[in-house]
Amino acid sequence: MELFLQRLFDGLSQGSVYSLIALGLVIIYRGTGHLNFAQGEMALFCTYVVYQCGEWGIPLGIALPIGMLVGFVMGATVEVTLIRPIAKKSQFAVFIVTLGLFQFLNWLDGAIWKDQPLPNSGVGSSQQSFPSLFPNKPDDFVNVFGAAIKIQSIGVFALVIVLTGLLFLLFNRTKLGLSMNAVASNAESAKLVGIRTNLVLMMSWGIAAAIGALGGVVFAGINSNVNLGLMFSVFIYASAAATLGGFDSPGGAVLGGLIIGVIENMAAGYSDEWIGQELKVGVALVVILVVLLVKPSGLFGTAKVERV
């Protein structure tokens, strides 16, 4: 029971990170139908910015908003300068450009923050220690039904719940949220009711990247370090989460992320023999495959209604 609760909370905090990155993926996908392959690397860049702020003596409480702001500006800029013009050519071109962006950002992070290249270095061979948003000293535990749960896990989970609440308000109570929903549903008609679709798309990318930045900082905090390969696996888990929840459903992305986090930790924990730590990433592959084959629109996604 204790072990179960521990794994559950570990899974939830891990899953919270997937939720955050998946949220970014979904917010962008809803607007334009593009899958942003650079989402993880954009988040990583912001995480490094936050790290750099720490090096300059700026406290994390201020560095985090700075990182998210950098993310917002980067996301918005990428949409305006790269994605919008290339989207006129083809979906495929957008895919390649996000992949190029992935490659570029990964290099840029290394160029700025990698200390010295190690011989035969794979990814993430150099890493910097990173502070956690929540207390994570060895004795920072609370006792829940006899299980020692890390305060950090609870904090991260709570953070995601609060953020989800805020996003819910954004989507359901504000004009920007309504505009984003309208653009997601029918971009042509959105223009015809006077919505500035270009602005909405720019904002979507900005918000997505800012949320991603938060995800990156949280994840680096959980791992206590930031390195060049940090977001590789997170991205695929987040994609699995978005696929599971439905690529056009923000709520689904959050829930999907949490579910994946829990499945991953339970699978690795209870089936150490067969899955263990190494093959955890296989969970993502299996989830993506099963969802796509059984219910391609995901748990909460809408299969688009087309009426003539």
């Binding site: 979906q91 895919f95 490659q103 290099w107 290249p117 994609s239 093959l279 592959l285 993506i288």
Partner: protein, 382 residues
Amino acid sequence: MKTIATIKSGGTASWAIRLVTAAVVVYLMFWIPTSASNGMIDSCITALTLMAAAMSLNLLLGYTGLISIGHSAFFGIGAYTTGILVSRYGWSPFQTLAVAFVIAFVVGALVSLPALRIKGVYLALVTLALGLVFPQLVKAQKLEWLTGGARGLDKTGFRFTKDNPTYEIFGWNPWGSLRGENVKPFHYWIAMIIVIGVYLVCRGVVKSRAGRSMIAIRDNETAAAVMGVNLAITKALVFGLSAALCALPGSLSAIRTGNVTPDSTNITVQGAITFLIVMVVGGAGSLWGPIIGAGLFVFITELTGDWSDPDQIPGIIRPLFSWSNTPPGSGIFAILLIVLMFVAPFGIVGMWRRLVARFVTVTPRPAGTGTIESVVSAPAEA
């Protein structure tokens, strides 16, 4: 634009151009192993490896419109098949190529089964996950007896010793003793033969009836199905073939380096992304695209390889890159990729064709006298 020349396809001028091109290519092919420095031969082998991998991916993405960001897994299958058979079971490296080919074909065809239902970016996700799983799989403790776990395998190439100093082809020995550095030209020729083989297979497939089915699927899947293309079988075969061809450079890398580790770049997802990027930069959907893209990639990487030391950067551009802690090769190439997508979506080959078309008119042969050159058109929507 003024046309400065008109060339009749199949005419004398056309043949002369082909002959000169072929002569230059063949000359270089022989010049490199005999006269170039060992370092350069090494770079060339790296480039050849990448060329074969990118060509295999081109068959899938460039011609059939199926996206894969997991081809590193097939590269890995090749490397590990060769590695395991050579180091654990004492096979001769050449024999393992066929086994690697078959295994990768089967795995590729199996992977394609979901691809029959999944389209575009979702397929990209599935293959990406595959690419991430593969290195973890070979690292798994359960498989350590076979794959060597995180350490990988060694002694996976030819071992030339005092007793066995060379490799003879039916008693013919063109290279002399292969111990030490002499082995490079030998590896070069293996790489070259693999590249030529992969090229010929791709060319044969693309220009055949099957190739037209693939292009039809890429351009309009529904229309292709209506015209009688069997989507399921075509996709499965192309996926299998593409995977099998990608396993060959994988085997080559095991033979060449003499070891296989799960962290070597081409086996990780970074490798799959590299294959994809060089293919698109060179020109997706053209036979020479991946070759040119891979060559350029290795050239840029080698050129900038020591630029993390600012003193090595040529003077004029030093301020541009002197801040970088890592060699800027992959960054430069990423920028090149993005820029090319804006100005020349069909890569360098596409740009070249457009340039040639401005100045030279190629008049096709009269209908019915030969095969029609495949028309380059937009890759299918992702």
